[in-house]
Amino acid sequence: MGKFQKMMVFWLGIICLLPHPLLAKTVYSTQVKVIHATEGSSHIDPGIKAIVQEIESVFKYTDYRLIKNKQMALKKNQTGTINLPGNRTLALTPVDMADNRITYQIRIEKNQAPVFQTRVLLKNHNSITIGGPQYNRGVLLLNVKGDVR
């Protein structure tokens, strides 16, 4: 083996040893903010001002309080769960990533019975809000954000 060929083999070995991003497992950083929206006082928690500014034109509510904020690093097809008020559970499963959109399977259960199930293509680094569950003279808003680096 010539000197040049030895050098080529050496550098190819070095390159193979380096961690390659394509070989790395995709991590779906999933953030869930559980917001309690009511009518009454005019208050918005500091951590959700940006979200509320975007969605408040749609709703009649004036009071928005962050009651839970959970960050999960999920792998593909791994389900992350969050306990919600009113004996409810939110389950999220990232199932695919294509065209800069993450496919999430989202399920809400109440008293261990499914009440809502959806499959959405969430734009990477963006969020979706699911609202409607009644709670304490108001409603719950579930803001789900997905990030894949």
């Binding site: 975007e54 969605i55 034109s57 749609v58 959109r101 496919t103 109440k110 499914p114 009440v115 809502f116 199930q117 959806t118 499959r119 959405v120 293509l121 969430l122 734009k123 963006n126 969020s127 979706i128 809000t129 699911i130 609202g131 409607g132 569950p133 009644q134």
Partner: protein, 165 residues
């Protein structure tokens, strides 16, 4: 009788010979006649003083015209050259070097820089407008009495709203 169409009576006050028209003579002077016509008229010129005078008059007019045109063109060129020279002199009179180049059209450059800076600030602080909704709902399964899918105007944020039974 002469039946040649170019040999016609001419009412011109300056031409006595009626064999050739002034138009014909003019074409002769401009070398626009066919070879036969040129030869015929050339032989006629040796005998006709009137036609010779008309030819001389046309040749003089042609010379004057060409001279005038040339002079006018020369003046135009001179005028353009003077303008160019003045521009060049003014350019030389301007400050040179980096400072000179910076001060040249300073207001336009400042306005351009301000516009670019404004665009950059807008891009940084406002970001590019979103394309498409934040989420596309592929399927829904619920026992809720009603479901709404809403998209906000500004950020195209997707909201799913359902009413629990």
């Amino acid at each position: 009788m002469d039946d040649n169409p170019r040999h016609k009576e001419n009412g011109s006050m300056t031409q006595q010979c009626s064999k050739y028209t002034e138009e014909f003579i003019s074409r002769f002077v401009d070398n626009e006649l066919d070879p036969v016509g040129t030869m015929e008229f050339s032989s006629h010129l040796g005998d006709c003083q009137d036609c010779a005078e008309v030819v001389a008059k046309f040749q003089k007019l042609g010379t004057l015209f060409n001279t005038h045109i040339n002079t006018h063109a020369a003046r135009q060129i001179a005028r353009v050259s003077r303008v160019d020279m003045a521009t060049t002199l003014l350019d030389y009179a301007k400050p040179t070097g980096i400072f000179g180049r910076m001060t040249d059209h300073l207001y336009i450059k400042l306005a351009s820089l301000t516009a670019v800076a404004a665009l950059l600030i807008l891009a940084v602080f406002q970001g590019a407008p979103p394309v498409g909704p934040s989420a596309i709902v592929k399927s829904l399964d619920t026992n809720a009495s009603s479901v709404m899918i809403i998209e906000t105007i500004k950020e195209k944020h997707t909201i799913i709203w359902f009413s629990e039974t």
